[in-house]
């Protein structure tokens, strides 16, 4: 008997249950109920987001594969085809930070090599609560070492990302993992083609790991977060590395017709998706599924989320060769079923039929909700609009800045600068990325620490630039404008590195979709993001949605994270954000109208084009956009040491709009700092583009000097400032 609490255990509503009954024409078995519960979970079915995701721009000349497969694929010319995607692992990372983050990385890497691409770069976007909380400090440490532990062992360089701290993430950290791969051979799809073909299981044995992980990712944490703990999955990066090599080998040898990783909802999701994508079905014989634990029932085997597993479909004749390749890599490959002509998912165990479900009812015909939308009554306070970097800082620091903002006069700007650069959201992230192998594969031209990360492509004159951006505070203030600003900033980061943005992926981290305010934010973000992506010519090729990011009913900031990939036509043009050498002239290029929290897409496009073209013309030695912390912080960041040189000073005249603190730290949009030996030409180009270039000063010396309204507002030894900045995070974490 299917009781209400049995349904709620499965996160299914009565109406959804009725839908199941009518799809089957009968009551579901327990196993079938489990299968529906994971496939119809928010995480797998996108039931609340689908209607909105339809509005995203997904087409473009370079797009080979848009949303719908394991990862998006684009052709960037010169025979180079790449796959990339971002995915969230928020809830697991709260329950067990190390394993949650590690398996998040493992999952996105599988999405990439499932398609036949070899992962060549990884990035991650992280959000945590504030560091005054010991629990948060433990989560930060666990998440970072988990990402490092998995990515380093697997052998993918983790070349960038972003980390921000704000109260709303205290009990719901965000861990979004991005991966990008390059095709050495054909593209493969998760399709069970050819009725009669064997369905082959490879990789780790199945245990009772993460059962209901998918439904867990679709429900907020209440008191019972602890009760959900036994679900934790353990990552095995070594196994994944073997899987990578073996999978690429069977693909390169043309031994398989389809392949799909087992991610959320494990065997259930992969077998039904592979069937529905190919218009076929899959029959599974669970007795043949390699099992790690004794006496597992059909329900457990179908719902297990044990990591490092893949499902392949091969032609009958090639079955043996497939097994041989996996043997070579020390992996088991076992035939666990076959492809059916009819669109059914059929599951047998011990001779009995445990489940028989029409594929379509699990995938395409899964519930779709057009949930109510409602603008929130009380929007987030505007007090930090000019200084969003202060969000998540302790009140004393916030007051110091807001007070300085209100009472100009003789403020100690040097002290404020030191306080800013050592604050949680601006301090150096080195403590984090030094734990990531960001050099393996010997392609890293610009690793962590610049605006965008850049890798060369062996055998090509092109380079690939990529960046992640997710300004939660801005989006919370204004979802539509914040989303535009997000895309603009990501593309600006690419422009600064000399790249042309070509495509994007996104991870939409939101609160409870049953809250109309959250769905309104979601809808606004989708529209803002779509408008901006259209403007920048960066179609969205894939992504992920994570709802129910809340704790005790508190929704997180609406936190979309966008990953944009760009192409630098010639490696010679790859540009970094840091100043190069003494004597270079520093120029600030900005639009006539300065705004905070929003952008003019026209101004942005003009700005980015001008900088990119100046870079291509060989005029620019460094380019860095001003963002959190404004002009003052941006200039300082250009001075710090890097692998090419030690710290270098600069003397800069801060343009005054009689706004005092805002002139130094105000976070105005659409501004880029460039250095050049040919100021006249750069200024001319900027003017031509209708922008306002301002010559700020020159690079050199060992002090950072800001002249403001005729006085030395700041005069500090750059090495001291760098020390303050560099040790900021470690201090806060200890």
């Amino acid at each position: 008997m299917i009781t209400d609490e049995l349904l709620s255990e499965h996160n299914l509503t009565r109406p959804e249950y009725e839908k199941i009954v009518s799809a089957l024409g009968r009551e579901p078995t327990r196993t079938e109920l489990g299968i529906y519960s994971v496939m119809w979970s928010e995480h797998c079915s996108y039931k609340s987001s689908r209607v909105h995701l339809k509005r995203l721009p997904t087409r473009g000349a370079r797009v080979v594969q848009g949303p719908g497969e394991n990862a998006g694929i684009i052709d960037i010319g010169d025979g180079i085809v790449i796959a990339f995607k971002i995915e969230s692992h928020n809830h697991p990372s709260y329950i067990e930070p190390y394993q949650g983050a590690a398996t998040g990385v493992g999952g996105i890497l599988r999405d990439i090599f499932t398609m036949g691409a070899r992962p060549i770069a990884a990035m991650n976007s992280l959000r945590f609560g504030t560091l005054d909380d010991a629990k948060t400090r433990r989560i930060v440490d666990g998440v970072v070492s988990g990402i490092a532990g998995y990515g380093n062992c697997f052998g993918v360089p983790t070349i960038g990302g972003e980390t921000l701290f704000a109260r709303c993430y205290a009990m719901n950290p965000l861990v979004n993992a991005f991966a990008l791969g390059i095709f050495e051979n054909d593209v493969f799809y998760g399709r069970a083609r050819g009725p009669g073909n064997p369905v082959i299981y490879v990789g780790a044995k199945t245990g009772r790991d993460g059962i209901h992980g998918a439904t867990m990712a679709s429900a907020g944490f209440g008191e019972d977060a602890g009760a959900k703990r036994p679900n934790v999955q353990i990552g095995d990066p070594f196994m994944e590395k073997l899987l990578l090599e073996a999978c690429l080998e069977v693909m390169q040898k043309g031994l398989i017709v389809g392949i799909q990783d087992m991610g959320a909802a494990g065997l259930t999701c992969s077998s039904s998706e592979m069937g529905s994508r190919a218009g076929t079905g899959v029959e599974l014989e669970l007795d043949d599924v390699p099992q790690r634990e004794a006496a597992m029932n059909a329900y457990e085997i179908m719902l297990s989320e044990s990591q490092e597993r893949m499902l392949l479909v091969a032609e009958k004749a090639k079955e043996k060769d497939v097994v041989a390749v996996f043997r070579k890599w020390g992996l088991d490959a076992v035939t666990v079923g076959r492809v059916l002509p009819e669109g059914m998912l059929r599951v047998r165990q011990g001779g009995a039929l445990m489940a028989e479900i029409p594929n379509a009812s699990l995938t395409d015909d899964a519930p779709v909700y057009n949930r109510p939308l409602l603008p929130p009554q009380s929007a987030l306070s505007a007090r930090l609009d000019y200084y969003s970097f202060l969000d998540g800082c302790d009140e004393s620091l916030i007051h110091r800045f807001l007070d300085a903002d209100q009472n100009p006069g003789n403020q100690d700007y040097a002290e404020l600068l030191k306080a800013a650069v050592s604050s949680p959201n601006l301090a150096s992230r080195r403590w984090i990325w030094e734990q990531y192998d960001h050099m393996v594969q010997s392609n890293t031209m610009i690793g962590p620490g610049s605006d965008a990360s850049v890798i060369r492509i062996k055998g090509s004159s092109r380079a690939l630039a990529m960046t992640l951006d997710g300004p939660g505070y801005r989006v919370a203030r204004n979802p539509r404008e914040g989303a535009k600003l997000m895309v603009a900033e990501a593309c600006r980061n690419l422009a600064c590195s000399g790249a042309e943005p070509v495509a994007a992926t996104n991870c939409l981290n939101f609160g409870n979709p049953e809250h109309p305010e959250v769905m309104w934010q979601f809808s606004e973000v989708v529209d803002g993001m779509s408008e901006a992506c259209d403007a920048f010519g960066t179609p969205i090729t894939g992504g992920n949605v994570s709802f129910y990011n809340e704790t005790f009913g508190e929704d997180i900031y609406p936190t979309p994270v966008i990953g944009v990939v760009g192409v630098v036509e010639n490696v010679q043009h790859v540009t970094a954000s840091w100043f190069r050498e003494a004597g270079d002239t520093i120029i600030l290029i900005e639009p006539g109208l300065l705004q905070v929290g929003r952008v003019s897409l026209d101004d942005e496009l003009a700005l980015q084009r001008v900088v990119r073209e100046a870079i291509r013309a060989g005029l620019v030695k460094s380019a860095h956009d001003t963002s959190e912390g404004g002009l003052a912080v941006a200039v300082a960041e250009c001075c710090y040491s890097n692998i090419h040189r030690s710290a270098i000073g600069a003397t800069v005249k801060i343009p005054s709009r009689l706004e005092a603190l805002k002139d130094l730290f105000g976070e105005y949009s659409s501004r880029i700092l460039v250095t050049t030996r040919n100021a006249a030409e750069v200024i001319e180009r900027a003017r031509q583009a209708g922008l306002e270039p301002v010559e700020l000063g020159t690079v050199g010396g060992d002090r950072l000097i800001f002249e403001y309204e005729g006085r030395r507002a700041v005069d500090v030894a750059i090495e001291d400032l760098e020390a303050t900045w560099a040790s900021g995070l470690a201090k806060l974490l200890s």
């Binding site: 062992c153 070594f238 590395k241 594969q441 010997s442």
Partner: protein, 233 residues
């Protein structure tokens, strides 16, 4: 002259080393599967970085049982050039081809960054293109690079000039601050008594091209080429 790069399950710098030799140094190179039992026709063998067998027991601990290691022992005994980089160094110490052991970094964290090492012995087949006291700008990427050897082993190493590289500052000063992982005597790389087997934690394969930030590592591979051509002539 032929180079070989061994692939253990879990190696992940194998392709980087291959590329450095083929595309950067321009010498013939091919991969060697860890189950191969012969190193016929190779003049130099590279054990690349990575996480052989996940480094799950101890770094390099399970790789030492791979069939190729038997052949490598004989190859080294006959004077063949062997360079172990990072995980390769760990495998060499585990298998006894080099003395000492590599412990967890004192920070207990994996560290990936550029630093400097000082050349201590320029009379090896791996350093003949370098000068004693010269510093190399080169990256590390490891969680277990903390070199350890007991007192008499250390005395022997120092006495025989088997210390090839030490972590130093840019000026070549060997200071505690320049030591990234706690290695005894700031040791970053050592050779065996015969001088034909080198193990080092830093990555020449990641510092052989200008666009990667340094070409200093290239001189180590060039020294090997130098030594081999000398051996030829």
């Amino acid at each position: 002259m032929k180079f070989g790069v061994v692939i253990f399950p879990g190696s992940n710098c194998d392709r980087d080393c291959y590329y450095a030799i083929e595309a950067v140094i321009g010498k013939p190179v091919s991969f060697i599967w860890h189950e191969d039992r012969s190193l016929e026709g190779f003049d130099a063998v590279i054990l690349p970085g990575g996480f052989s067998y996940g480094d799950y027991l101890r770094t390099g601990a399970l790789a030492k049982f791979s069939p190729v290691m038997q052949a490598l022992g004989e190859f080294a005994a006959k004077g063949g050039l062997v360079i172990g980089i990072c995980n390769g160094f760990q495998i060499l110490t585990e298998s006894g081809l080099l003395p000492g052991a590599l412990l967890r970094n004192v920070s207990r964290k994996y560290i990936c960054k550029f630093l400097h090492i000082r050349v201590e012995n320029a009379a090896t087949p791996f350093t003949n293109r370098l000068r004693v006291g010269q510093t190399l700008h080169i990256p590390i990427g490891h969680g277990d690079g903390n070199f350890f050897a007991d007192a008499e082993t250390l005395k022997r190493l120092e006495g025989n000039g088997q210390v090839a590289f030490r972590y130093s500052d840019a000026a070549g000063q060997v200071t505690p601050e320049a030591n990234p992982n706690g290695s005894i005597g700031n040791i970053a790389g050592i050779v065996n008594a015969a001088g034909n087997v080198l193990g080092m934690m830093p990555h020449p394969d990641r510092s052989s091209e200008e666009l990667l930030g340094s070409v200093d590592g290239k001189m180590i591979f060039e020294s090997m080429v130098n030594a081999l051509s000398g051996a030829r002539a």
